[in-house]
């Protein structure tokens, strides 16, 4: 087991070194070495998971004296398997995709180094190893995103990413320093033991240490996972090669969720920070979704979609559903990776088929098919409001009848409810030859998906947090006073039900398009199209600092 853990980051590192040192390297050989190493790494990751399932005992391996340790617990097992899988896909895809690009060997060397750094991060057993890997990922990503050295835009956005990542590195370093100063250990398992023994023994910056450390860790997560207002780099990283976009959107950007889970024993004593995570996540999810809807570039739309998903991931953390965030980041990684890798094909298809639906007369006269119809709006509205909450409620009740007592689980039910309702509304608007049958099939699919999702999420929770007391304490830390919570639930329920009824009513009466949008709508659109001016503010601040620097140099006469 010990050797397997060490090999996980060591193999990609070895592959990078071999590829960098081999003289007169042929492209095919470079790809073969690198893909071979990625394949073995994936097999090793699978073996470590199987071994852990057979003997569920965390393993800590020390390579150095004070730091340099690797720790394999359920979180590390799951993450290594996820990372190694995506890494292999990216390696295989790049072999042909990058074949015409210059710097082929450099690309694979960087890709291997990145894999080594990410695997080191997810298996880090002490704070210095974690910081080292966390910092290296930012640096390597900068070079991967700026792989095309002749494109000024690629360089500019690679720099944005690097700077935001550095901004996020520093709070994590400060959190580590404060924790080491207080608890006198670098080892993560020992640190968490000492925190559990004396969580309120120290303060920093006038706050309890756990709150300060939790806040700093959250800030590091915000920068890495593109939370508002540190999100501007994410949609623009499409300037990098597509395999790097995949690696980033399917892997690196999820590091925030991993970090929050890693420091779960800190967040147990930092309930206020969990509320902040919820608020920031919610704002990010809303803004990411709004910005995604206004994009006309498929890759940029995917970028904003990732931002929205990262927001949801932080919402999950904010309500205490830490294991769900890990499930979310892996599921999101897989489907977003698929979307990116197939985005070129989608663009190609769109060029061949316009995708405009035929009108009713054409369908009836030329295609000789009956005209499509819709369900009665009242029936559809009732189904939309009732069915998703019933399906979600029942499936959650089946895996654990006590879930109603957990505020976090109830909040997540609301998100599931809105998503399910969105699906049924989209089905209602479809117009089909037999609308009842279509609706029934969609509801059946919803039942299968929700039941599967709930079961897997429950299994994930049991695997990642075998200590049920810790899981319950995280939920408790994320809770708010019961009366406030019940009032909020009431208001939300009322808003959702009345909102959907109003939507159906308006839709049925015919949504007459307003050709003269109001000033307010125009102002909102311009605000969204300029991406809320966040990037412009950063650009202005950048110029101010550079101007100050020039003035200082002139004043100090360059010495």
């Amino acid at each position: 087991m010990d050797k397997l853990i060490v090999l996980l980051p060591a193999l990609p590192l070895l592959s990078a070194v071999i590829n960098a040192l081999l003289p007169n390297n042929k492209r095919r050989r470079v790809a073969r070495i690198s893909i071979g190493s990625a394949t073995i790494t994936l097999l090793l990751a699978a073996m470590t998971l199987v071994e852990y399932l057979c003997v569920p005992q965390p393993t800590l391996v020390w390579l150095g004296v004070h730091w340099g340790s690797l720790y394999l617990d359920p979180l590390a097992c799951i993450m290594t398997l996820g990372v190694a899988s995506i890494n292999l896909v990216v390696h295989v895809y790049s072999a042909r995709y990058m074949a015409e690009e210059s710097g082929y060997t450099r690309f694979y060397v960087l890709l291997d180094l990145m894999a080594a750094a990410i695997l080191l991060m997810v298996t880090a057993g002490d704070l210095i190893t974690l910081l080292l890997a966390w910092n290296l990922i930012g640096v390597l990503l900068y070079f991967l995103l700026g792989h095309d050295t002749r494109r000024a835009t690629a360089q500019r956005y690679a720099f944005w990413t690097f700077f935001t990542y550095r901004l996020g590195d520093l709070p994590l370093i400060l959190a580590a320093v404060l924790l080491v100063q207080a608890y006198h250990t670098l080892s993560l398992p020992l640190l968490f033991e000492r925190i559990a023994a004396a969580p309120e023994a120290h303060t920093a910056f006038g706050l309890p240490l756990m709150t300060t450390a939790g806040l700093l860790i959250a800030l590091a997560g915000f920068a890495r996972s593109a939370q508002f207002p540190l999100h501007t780099w994410l949609p623009y990283t499409m300037e990098g090669p597509t395999p790097v976009s995949v690696l980033m959107h399917a892997g690196i950007v999820n590091a925030g969720g991993f970090l929050i889970n890693l420091f779960a024993p800190v967040f147990v004593y930092a309930g206020d920070v969990l509320h902040l995570l919820f608020a920031v996540g919610l704002i990010t999810a809303l803004l990411g979704s709004v910005l995604m809807l206004t994009q006309n570039d498929v890759k940029k739309a995917l970028g904003y979609s990732t931002m929205g998903q990262m927001g949801f991931m932080f919402v999950e953390c904010g309500v205490g559903a830490f294991s769900l965030a890990i499930y979310h980041l892996i599921a999101h990684g897989l489907f977003k990776g698929t979307l990116f890798l197939s985005s070129g094909g989608v663009i190609g298809d769109a060029r061949k088929h316009d995708g405009v639906p035929h009108d009713d007369v054409y369908t009836f006269v030329v295609e000789r098919r009956p005209v499509a119809s819709r369900l009665p709006w009242v029936a559809a509205a009732v189904i939309t409001v009732v069915v998703p909450i019933a399906v979600l409620g029942l499936s959650h009740w089946l895996v654990g009848s006590h879930f109603v007592g957990q505020q976090g689980a109830v909040v997540l039910l609301f998100f599931g409810w809105v998503t399910g309702a969105q699906l049924l509304f989209a089905t209602y608007r479809l117009r089909a030859e037999s609308p009842w049958r279509t609706m029934a099939m969609v509801i059946l699919s919803l039942v299968v998906v929700v039941a599967g999702y709930t079961l897997i999420a429950h299994a994930f929770d049991l695997f990642l947090y075998p200590d049920r007391a810790l899981s319950a304490r995280i939920f408790a830390a994320a809770s708010i006073p019961l009366t406030t919570f019940e009032i909020l639930v009431g208001i939300l329920t009322l808003s959702i039900v009345s909102g959907w009824l109003a939507t159906y009513y308006t839709n049925d009466k015919g949504d007459k398009r307003n050709d003269n949008p109001s000033e307010l709508r125009l102002a909102f659109y311009s605000l969204v199209s300029r991406e809320f001016y966040v990037a412009d503010v950063y650009a202005w601040m950048n110029q101010v600092v550079l101007h100050l620097s020039r003035r200082l140099n002139v004043w100090a006469r360059w010495v």
Partner: protein, 246 residues
């Protein structure tokens, strides 16, 4: 006496002396030697004089380091960049001094931060011989024509701004552990600006296309190997001394 030591462990405006001498020296080897030896004289003086360090010195050191870090952002001359970075980094030594660090710890801290700057100054020699001047933006995109030089330049610049796994990173962590929370915040801000200025410098040398044609040979394999071995030994030594293996 304190002001005398501040000449060698540079605090603005006394730091101007080191920078002036460095700019006047003709050869890269002499400049590198100055960068390495000058702060060690400061450490030796501290050991001999056993000064009491007033609290304001740490604030002065932080302001001095921040002043030079800010200025780095718009410096394009590689030699001057290395010089100012060294002034910014070495000023931070006073944080350790105020905390009562012993001479070995101080001496190592100074080596971890001054050796990369010395290596960078040495590298200005090959850069000037090939490009005519070590000036960012003059000949951009050397990664296309001189990949070996580009790789070494990138590695050395990353080393100077305390990027892991180079020793500066561990030295900075060591320093942060010994500082108060407020001072640590200041040091982190300075570290952030170093990284920013490093990317600006690299973008002026390594990437982007240049309107000027570069017609010069790349760094030889031997030259590259020397730098790689030096950086490897440097990183390995730091891992050894910090207890991270090796």
């Amino acid at each position: 006496m304190l002001l005398f030591v501040a000449l060698f462990l540079p605090l603005y405006p006394l730091s101007a002396v080191q920078n002036l001498i460095l700019m006047r020296l003709r050869t890269p080897v002499a400049r590198a030697a100055l960068l390495l030896l000058w702060p060690q004289i400061g450490v030796a003086l501290l050991y001999v004089l056993r000064l009491e360090i007033p609290a304001f010195v740490v604030i002065w050191a932080l302001l001095s380091a921040a002043f030079y870090a800010l200025r780095l952002l718009t410096v394009r001359d590689l030699r001057l960049w290395a010089s100012l970075l060294s002034s910014s980094a070495l000023a931070l030594t006073w944080g350790l001094v105020a905390h009562g660090a012993d001479i070995a710890q101080l001496s190592l801290f100074v080596i971890w931060l001054s050796l990369p700057a010395a290596l960078l100054v040495l590298l200005t020699g090959p850069v000037v011989r090939r490009l005519g001047a070590a000036y960012a933006g003059l000949y951009a995109g050397i990664v296309e024509h001189q990949p070996r030089l580009a790789v070494i330049l990138t590695a050395v610049v990353l080393c100077t701004v305390a990027t892991p796994p180079f020793p500066g990173f561990f030295a900075m962590l060591d320093l942060l552990r010994d500082l108060s929370s407020a001072a640590a915040l200041g040091v982190l801000g300075i570290w952030l600006i170093w990284g920013w200025s490093a990317t600006r410098l690299l973008q002026g040398f390594v990437v982007a296309s240049s309107s000027r044609e570069i017609d010069a040979p790349d760094l030889g394999r031997g030259g590259m190997a020397t730098y790689v071995v030096a950086l490897f030994i440097f990183a390995a030594a730091s891992l050894h001394f910090t207890g991270g293996g090796l």
